[in-house]
Amino acid sequence: MSSANSVAPSLQAARRSYARRRIDGLAYVEFGPDNGAILIDLGEGGLGFQSVMPVSMNQALLFRFKLPGADKYVEGSAEVAWMNESGKGGGLRFVELGADTCGQIREWTGVLPAPESNLVQIELESESKPSEEIAAESAPVDSSQSSPAPEVAQSDEEASAPIVEPAVPREADAPGETAQALNVSPETNGTPSAHETAANQLPANEVALPNAPAIPEFTLELAVTPDWTQPPVNHVAGASPVKPPISVSRTTDLKPSQPAQPAESEESEQSAAKTTGSRVTPPASPAKSTRMAVPDSKSSVPVQKRQRKPASPEPESSTLTAYQASAVRGSFPRHSQNSAPTATEWLSQADESTAQPALQAQALKIGIGAAAGACLMLALVFGVPHLRTLASANARSGGSNLASPATFQVEVADLNDHRWILTSGGDAGSPFNDTPSRRDTGARTQPAKSSQPEASDDSSKAVDTPKPKLPKPGELVLSRPRPTQAPMASAQIIAPSIFDGITPPIGSVGDRLAVGGPEAPGIVPPEARPAVATSNLQAAVLVQRVAPVYPATAVTSRLQGQVQVNATIGKDGVPKDLKVVRGDQRLVPAALAAIGQWRYRAATLGGQPIETQIVVSVDFHLQ
């Protein structure tokens, strides 16, 4: 019926946990109602087939077949683990098998699960030996290996298990038949081999990746640099002279319960890599990635030309890239919780550990930036108005002779154009002296000799003996200008006043009085203002004002209005020659009577008082 007389290819054999038995006869396996296949070989983990219709990777299939010489169907479910280019040949991985079915297969194959290393050695060292001989030799080889780390850390049970190499015909070397002859479908029912473990951790369609060195994108994306200086792969079977310093801990994943040593990992990796036809070359530094060499087509190892056909080109490419990237990093995903980290794992962990602080630092920077931005916004929101206030204060201080913008200051000016600074809360104890700041608003370019020096003197005398009160916080205190300002010549302009142009000249007839109803009719500026400032002319200044009496008839009749009177201000400052320019006749007598009592400081020309004519307006308003 069947004979187990084959030499298993290293790649597939290394990935098997169960022996395969080739079926010599013709056995047909049904893949549902629409498809079927010729059974090539069979093991507890799966089977090889040549189907009628193409299948796809990872395709779930319900199968049924009869073993040669058996009447009972073997049924179960499986998935396509690998397939050839045509998609009609490949291997199935059993997913679900009945207990008797499994026993039936085991009984048919007559073998127990065999360690893959044994299979590898059998394949590599004695290609043409019968399987029994191979099995007989394989055990001593394994046991005689003095390497502290066996090629594959199989369990003792597996290592000591008798091995019957599945039957793989020699003609399987032919490219066209490789896929069928070298049925290396991974079997996951038993303890996985190193490659199975690695492959199982990859996407499903990556299972056969190590067996597919001819995949062009694999070699391209990995930038494989074949290292021809390395000994042939068939030299390795446990006694490899090449000891790459890299540590790819695939072996350690095999046995979670057995923490693997790094040396074991290296050897296992080497072994695995070499059995898969690829060669792991030592990187220049441990931090560098693993390089995988393209297998030599002239190698004595029967090179499998099988290529995996992906379910779709793009996923394979992408997964290959992911696989390669992970393989290059040496950071295959791990399921073992007990396995000790290897060097590459440490490296990958180091990468992660360095990347995490970098992310944290970046997040910290972002947070700091956000906080700074928020602070800036708050400063702008709350600070700008205050700054504007300060700027305004500075501007106003620069445009006036007020002392300081930090305090509320009121410029005080009397009729003699003596000026002081009324400051809030400051300079409380500053006594007045005889050097008040003086400013002539009427004739700035003239010597500001006061026309009433006695008044000035009186003022000076008065302030020589002040009795200032201590200021209360926030209260206004009158203070004199600093002595440094006092010696300034009276003819000089202390500073441009902020009130120039927006208020009437001090002491001029333009100075208006409040109009407060019958009790306090006011004076409005005359329409025709006298020249108040020439090179040598000093205008007349009102120094005494008497409020006109609102006529009773005007009050009763709610009469309001303005009376304009042309007056001549004599050298003595007394208005005379009053002539009504316009105004209601009922208001004129009151206006004339009031104006007649006013007193002016006579206008001067070259310092000499002169008579001047002015127009005085008196407003009558009812409140």
């Binding site: 504007r388 206030t389 305004s392 204060a393 106003r396 445009g399 006036s400 007020l402 913008p405 930090a406 305090t407 509320f408 200051q409 009121v410 410029e411 005080v412 000016a413 009397d414 009729l415 003596h418 009324l422 400051t423 809360g425 400051g426 007045f432 008044a455 009186d458 003022s459 000076s460 005398k461 008065a462 302030v463 003996t465 002040p466 009795k467 200032p468 916080p473 926030g474 209260e475 206004l476 205190v477 009158l478 203070s479 006043s497 902020i498 009130f499 927006i502 208020t503 009437p504 001090i506 100075d511 208006r512 009085l513 409040a514 407060g516 006011g522 009102l542 120094v543 005494q544 004002r545």
Partner: protein, 166 residues
Amino acid sequence: MALVLTAAIMYFRPGRTTPKPWNSNAITASYVGAQLRQLDSNNAALYLAYEVQNHTDSDYQLADGPAALVMSRLRADGSLRSQQKVRLSYPTFLPARQRARVALEVPSPFGWPESNDPAFQDKLRDLVNQKLLEVQAFVLFDQADRFQIEFPGGWQELKLASALPR
């Protein structure tokens, strides 16, 4: 008939009599300074200088008149009062997007103290405090253009600053 109806609708349409809201952003003012001036022996005036800014694209004539009413906003509760006579010192032409300086005049009957009066400064101080300390700001309402011009009281901040130890 249609014309009559249209005219009636236009006359009685909603919102026709709704007054235009006060525009307080068209013209703004910032405090510049204050001056207390003796007008004669019995009167004084407090001048408050401001810088006004015309934010509109139209020229504006800022003048004292029947349509312009200046009121005081009390510091205590922000209410307005017109008890205190306040007016613009001079009419001001304020071109579009331009600034100009104006002065508010707060006249007051005040017996200007003699220069030899020992309480000279106290009287002046009391006058200023009387005029300003209760006032938060002055507000000019231009009823013709519906402009509300706020003249802030710069003495507030300065007063607070003056309370600090020096």
